[in-house]
């Protein structure tokens, strides 16, 4: 244990995980955000027409939606990364708030592979790795389908190689 604030002296920090998710995930996220934004705009437009909500709220919402569609998915794509090693899985998700999760191979309980209806159109899949903790599932969205399949196989094989009930 060292003095607090020693960050500046030694500068130890976690690096980003090695692999990006598929670039197609960015398109999928932009599309999702655009659909959400359009729905919100239509709802507000109806409100403006029917209940005489002031029209400048539309301009405000439009600005928010533009940022939501143009900036957030790109930011999310830059943050979303993953990596596996012999002994651990390491994921990074989020955009404004960045969350990094590390789980040892020996503690992995299940490995889930999922293709949502939208993700399937883009040839993408998500992999979720659960441990015994209620707070500890590691989830990687927007993986290329082939990469995701290989990842699931690798993880399952490596997790099986370790004894114990993973709690």
């Amino acid at each position: 244990m060292s003095e607090p604030g020693s960050n500046a002296i030694t500068g130890i920090s976690l690096r980003d995980p090695a692999h990006r998710v598929s670039p197609r995930a960015r398109v999928m996220w932009i599309l999702g955000a655009a659909v959400e934004g359009i729905v919100a705009l239509v709802v507000l437009l109806v409100a403006v027409l029917v209940w005489e909500v002031p029209a400048w709220t539309l301009a405000l919402l439009l600005a928010v939606v533009v940022v939501w569609v143009a900036v957030v998915p790109q930011w999310r794509y830059l943050v979303h990364r993953w990596e596996t090693s012999e002994t651990a899985v390491y994921t990074q998700t989020g955009w404004w708030a960045r969350e990094r999760r590390i789980a040892p191979m020996s503690r992995i309980q299940t490995v889930d592979y999922a293709e949502g209806p939208v993700a399937r159109v883009f040839g993408l899949a998500s992999v979720t790795v659960t441990t015994a903790s209620a707070a500890g599932a590691l989830s990687i969205d927007g993986l290329d389908r082939e990469v995701a399949r290989r990842l699931v196989d690798d993880l399952t094989r490596q997790a099986d190689a370790v004894e114990g009930d993973a709690t």
Binding site: S2, G5, N7, R98, R101, I102, A103, P104, A166, T167
Partner: protein, 503 residues
Amino acid sequence: MSPVSVVAAAHDWQRLDRRMLLVHPIRELVRFLPALVAIAVAGTASGGAPWQALGVVVPVALGVLRYLTTRYRIAAGRIELRRGLLSRRVTSTPLDRVRTVDLTSSVVQRVLGLTTLRIGTGLAANDEGDALDLDGLPVDRARALRADLLHAAPVASEDGWAGDVPAAPHDAVPLVAFDPRWLRFAPFTGTGLIVVAAVVGGASQLLESFDVWDDVRSDDLPVPSGLGIALGVVAGVVVLVALSVLGYLVTNGGFRLTREAGAWHVRRGLLTTRETSIDEERLAGVAIGEPLALRLTGGRHLQAIVTGVNRSQSGSSTLVPPSDADVAPAAARAILGQRGPDGPVDAPLTGHGPAATRRRWTRALLPAVVLLLLAVAAVATGAPWWLLVPCVVILAASAALAADRAAGLGHALVDGHLVARSGSLARRREMLDVDHVIGWTLRDTWFQRRAGLIALAATTAGGRGSVGLLDVPEADAVRLADEALPGLVSQFATVPRHGLNTL
């Protein structure tokens, strides 16, 4: 009857204790009480006796049926419970998945010397109300069964039930036993405060609906209404305190914490007694709770972080109820096996540094300052001046909260335990065995990244799912995580200027 033969006999399907023939009908009668009252009223109106008899016979018959259709057995490494007449349901649990065993006795059961044995497995099935309850066993037999179940959990033994069964835990010398002086903490506990708030809210609504406040202000009262209101407030507070003390007594009366055969046993409850047993293997750590109200009055409480016991079963995790400040730490020392004066319970904690302190202050003060500025603007445009008073009070309270929250932050890694303390109104000092750490979560927002801080959480299979350190300098977080589980985090770390050996 020796306990070994008790459990050996359980290999065949068998019924619960015969005395449940008394308990079940009483329970059904209570459940049918509203209907019974209605039937009785209708019966006296029409004058027909058979109807009234039916109202009693049906619940009693239901109770008897419930007894006759419920059976359990222990066979092939599983404990199985079969119940139901029309839709039959079998609940089954592998013995090596048993994590906690609770014995709960209602008043009726206590009179008859019975208890309900509940098996906690920590599996998702528990959330669906599928807990395995053996409702109605003789107390001796339930204790013997419990000893065997907990014994079977860590090592699933092939030959079954061999070995000596320890004495019932209530015979052992308790580590902590109930002290009536603890009752003074009752009004300051979380549940005490909730009771107070609920009663105040309910009473004021009731008074409002009857327009009592108008009456109080009228001249009917023999004393000046100011004094009357003051007396009313005092009387109300006395009632609320009495209620919270009563609640504490009913929940925690007769409390004792004992250790027996590799498990910790907590027994409490004045009317309905409850014995919780936590297998030592499953005890991931303990948390000393020191919420503000308790801290100011010199109290502490202790909870267990148990593998397989989640938040919804938090009642099962109490190790020591709110009590004098030295009781919970003493129990924690014994439970963690701390010998020296600088174990996890007492070790000084490393603070989180000036950046974390600054963050506590900005987070607490920002809303209060905004509120104050709004109030100032409102007053400037003609609002009454006293609007500022509550805003200033809120600002002062926020400052006090920020100072307390900053002072509370701390972490350490001592004797294989990760120690983390945070919070003010609900401060906890959590001590987690690193062997039970099953992963790390590091979270930082853009603001935190700029301040060089990060929230580190050690995930575990028990308790809230994780033990968290709020706003640690990132280098400290990485170093701590790497010291706790060597090699796991360092493979993903970068050290720009020095070698990895500085870790």
